[in-house]
Amino acid sequence: MKKYKLYISILFIASLAFSSCSDWLYIEPEDGVTVDQFWQTERDVHAAVMGCYASMLGGTTHPVAEAMFNWGELRADMIRSFRSINNDFEQINQGEILPTNNFARWNGFYTTINLCNTVLEFGPKVVERDGAFTQARMNEYKGEVLGLRALLYFYLARVFNEVPLVLEATTTDSRIQARTKASNADIFAQIISDLEEAERLIPRDHGRLEENKGRINYYTIKAIQADVYLWLDEFDKVIEACDEIIQSGQFALVPGNENWFTTLFVEGNSIESIFELQFSSEILNPYYNWVANVQWYRANTLTVEYLWPVNILALPEDADIRSDGAAYRSADGYSIWKYIGANREQRKPFNEATSNWIVYRYADILLMKAEALANTNQGAQALTYIDVIRDRANAPDDTYQSPTGQFGLTSYILDERGREFAYEGKRWFDILRNAKRNNYQRLDLLTDMAIRSTRPEKIESLINKLRDTDFHYLPIHQSEINAGYPHLKQNPFYDQTQR
């Protein structure tokens, strides 16, 4: 465990040294000689793959681990400004999103994508050089980075709608080029074909616990597929992918007892976890700092009250275990407790900010399946999966529903996902996915969100913006537009000349 993490951190620093960049379009090319010298043995390939994961944790102005939180939470209704104001967040929260907003930076994503592309290009050459390195082993690595790249493009396609599709490594100056955006359909076609290839190549087991939770394996691919197909409304494929994970017997919910919070969130890599970004005492997560030190964000009490209605007669032991003391802590100024609690009552010190970022966990699989069932006229079955999640969480009757129609089920599942995955970077994607389904049938979900999230004097404008579907995607950051001139075009909402 320790060795693994140490290894990662060394690699991480090493990768910084030769791949740090300010801008994906001007990636400092790894010098040709260095590339040739580096790719010699399987160890080098392994190191490069680990470097892909490590690059997600930091090293750029907007690394993947930060962007996953920001893109999933800042536009939604779960958080509020706390004691210090983050101007970029305030503007997003009020629907005043400019191309200069730093949360619109995608450089962290493209840095990791480039590292993935580098492995895909240079890895196969090592098979010829290192006699002990088999094609079969290389294929496993290939499956891993294809899966990771697909996951990253899936985020980009949901956040920006259309982005450049870069599939080859930028390793030298001559390969730098300004690119145009690929269509949303092309990006998803690439994601799906990458995942299908990865599925054939990737192992089910990497051997050690941390590696199984911290690296992409077969089940991670299945989880990503479920999520992708849910976004594309291909519900049968969602159910198929979820079923493979459910029937594998490799995963289970962490029991909702007194150790639930620490097992699932503080220690991490639990039986419930499918894929987590691995933070450690060498690389602390950024979330603790945002919540507890600079104090940018706290829980939005309006949403908290909506998801967990007040019942002043309820005893503490009757409360939903996911509410006070898990998602947030009321006695700590409604701080976002998931990333700062050592347990349900005590805060941990800053140097223990080692909570992982959970990308997928088993509860997500169950609720994704429920959502797919609800949309294929299998509502009764959907409810059984929701009940499993609610039973584990000791969810009180106040929030229990038994809707039969698809409309009611959608709201119910969305609320349940809000309770289950509070502050895990899911909320905005959950709301948008459900809102846009059936030709934006549920725009009301976005409207309700806006009413809870923004200031009263901005609500009307924000709601009207949210009715404009172009506004559902972030602008491309101005620095990228400048660098990509004249090929890279701003997203339509943010450039009146395109409308």
């Binding site: 004691r83 629907g95 009263p456 404008s461 009146q496």
Partner: protein, 594 residues
């Protein structure tokens, strides 16, 4: 000598050079940098702004936009002017006189830099040079979100930053609002009944001649029709059955109209939402404003524990700027509520934020730490305040609901605490601060301010001897009242309470004979008599003087001066009011059973 010649020579040269230079300088440009200024930007983009440039030159304002400053220009494009001339009485700029031209310019220039990120659903923060506010808002038109000024001028390009300010280009000319509130209402055929009501009560003249600014809540005829009023006379008969003198400001109909006008205050909807309350032209009568989702309601209140549903403002039609104010349109009619002062027994810990904490509010458990800023309706500086639930910390069964606030009120720790009171009806009240005192020395001593006016009595929370029978035997509750003390609560578990009198152990007193108390540490002190000027929420502030220990705050009572200050008391178990007779009855039941 040599030096002298030299210096005079120099002087001549200098003088000469000055002479020469002054003749040579037309080629110089007097500026310190070459960043584009607003006026230059307009000139450099004649495809879009040539007509605006013409307007600026004809009105002699161009130099202003080419000077340094901090401006916002709403720049109508050429097509905007074409649209304007097609729709207005003028067919070209040469039809307009200088003042008309200048009004148009003044209407489009704001002497402040306002980027689009600061736009709200309401007015800008600064007026234009005409003195009117421009409203902003994003609307949904033709499947697109569209940013508009004054609800009709669509923004084409926003936030063009120049060295002397910001340009927002627009596709329409913003028409100066030159009609008064009265004229606009009269000219609008939807408001015939309201117009007549204004005229008959003479408020029409105020809205026409008065500089204001006026904020008017106009009621469309359709709303009256829905209520069953087809004419002004129908309305009058309902509001003022006696059909008295309409010009009398105390006439109900006159007051009804005045209640729809704010007292010389310019409030757009976004301001009202922020203010939460507005003083009307009826003396000391306010309207309250509450946002509910996207809707904004007038007089949606909880009054004496009962929710009174409010009346919706038609936001699409409201925020209409007029020469002397702003006009709002109602979806429903509202009237003055006659309020009489009534007693408020306020359990201070009933704060929404605490009630939302599961398993905390009025529950057994540890104290909850509250930092400044955690509560919306209680503000303070300095250290933390503690909420102590049932039985936690200093809370005990003798405080109401068993919970209280623990406040280190003293200049060194928490110098002051300010509480927003529940809604109080206008009138005169006595304020009782009700707390758990202590026999120990050095619990806080503090002033009470009501709406920033200090009240006469200083509150001393320790030692509690003023009510202690040991030192002041035999004080009746009325004698205590005259000294500014009262027992405000009653614990039903004390019904069997009997004790020996402190001075004479032979005499025993039951609960009825001992001022209905078992724990005399919990009592109220009179802070003073206040006049609540307007019905609504007001500010109550405790300002620490000295002390080193805790202030255990339980309740504040506001009791009209002409009502009994001592009874009823508050049942500590359920917070209900309890009369002396009820306690007697309970005691009789107890005795008959034992």
């Amino acid at each position: 000598m040599k030096r002298k010649i030299y210096s005079s020579f120099l002087t001549v040269i200098i003088l000469l050079s000055i002479g020469f230079v002054s003749c040579l300088d037309p080629a110089f440009e007097e500026r310190t940098n070459y960043q584009e200024l607003i006026g230059e930007f307009l000139e450099n983009n004649p495809d879009e702004f040539s007509m605006l440039v013409e307007l600026l030159e004809k009105s002699e304002s161009m130099s202003f936009l080419k000077a340094y400053g901090a401006l916002t220009l709403l720049a109508p494009t050429n097509s905007a002017f074409e649209k304007f001339f097609a729709e207005s009485e003028f067919s070209s700029l040469s039809d307009m006189d200088r003042e008309e031209l200048r009004n148009i310019v003044r209407y489009h220039v704001i002497t402040d830099t306002i980027p689009s990120t600061e736009f709200v659903d309401g007015r800008m923060n600064t007026t234009n040079m005409f003195g009117h506010y421009i409203t902003t808002g994003t609307f949904f038109r033709d499947n697109q979100a569209v940013l508009m000024f004054n609800k009709y001028a669509e923004v084409r390009q926003r936030d063009i930053r120049m060295a002397n300010g910001i340009i927002h280009s627009i596709n329409d000319v913003i028409r100066p609002e030159l009609q008064t509130a009265a004229q606009v209402i009269e000219a609008d055929s939807r408001f015939t009944i309201f117009t007549e009501a204004l005229k008959r009560t003479s408020w029409f003249d105020t809205l026409h001649i008065g500089k204001g600014p006026h904020t008017v809540f106009a009621i469309p005829d359709a709303v009256y029709k829905a209520e069953g009023f087809d004419s002004f006379d129908d309305l009058w008969a309902d509001v003022d059955p006696d059909e008295g003198n309409l010009l009398d400001i105390n006439n109900p109909m006159n007051m009804y109209v005045a209640y729809h006008i704010l007292d010389k205050n310019l409030r757009y909807v976004s301001d009202l939402v922020f203010d939460r309350v507005g003083l009307t032209r009826v003396r000391n009568e306010v309207v309250t404003i509450r946002p509910v989702g996207v809707n904004v309601l007038v007089n949606d209140d909880v009054f004496a524990g009962v929710h009174e549903p409010g009346f919706e403002i038609n936001r699409d039609e409201s925020d209409r700027t007029v020469l002397n104010g702003v006009l709002h349109v109602m979806k429903e009619d509202f009237r003055i509520k006659e309020r009489h002062p009534f007693a408020v027994y306020w359990s201070v810990t009933e704060q929404l934020e605490i009630m939302r904490m599961p398993g905390v509010f009025r529950r057994p458990g540890d104290a909850v730490v509250l930092q400044p800023g955690d509560l919306e309706n209680i503000t303070w500086t300095g250290g933390n305040i503690f909420y102590e639930g049932r039985g936690g910390g200093a809370a005990n069964p003798w405080v109401v609901h068993g919970d209280l606030f623990n406040i280190m009120l003293r200049p060194e720790v928490i110098p002051w605490v300010e509480l927003k009171t529940p809604v109080l009806a206008a009138g005169d009240y006595k304020i009782w601060i009700c707390f758990r005192g202590s026999s120990a020395e050095r619990h806080p001593v503090f002033f009470v301010h009501f709406n920033d006016i200090p009240l006469p009595n200083v509150i001393r929370t320790s030692p509690y001897n003023p009510t202690n029978r040991t030192e002041r035997p035999g004080y009746s509750e009325r004698e205590l009242e005259s000294r500014g003390y009262k027992f405000y609560q009653w614990n039903p578990d004390d019904i069997a309470y009997t004790r020996s009198d402190d001075n004479d152990p032979d005499i025993t007193r039951n609960i009825l004979e001992s001022n209905y108390i078992a724990d005399s540490r919990v009592f109220g002190m009179l802070a003073g008599t206040i006049t609540v000027p307007t019905t609504g929420s007001h500010a109550l502030r405790f300002v620490g003087i000295s002390g080193t220990k805790e202030f255990w705050l339980d309740m504040v009572h506001f009791i009209p001066v002409d009502e009994d200050q001592l009874w009823p008391r508050v049942n500590t178990k359920n917070g209900r009011l309890v009369t002396k007779e009820e306690i007697h009855a309970a005691y009789e039941v107890y005795q008959s059973q034992n």
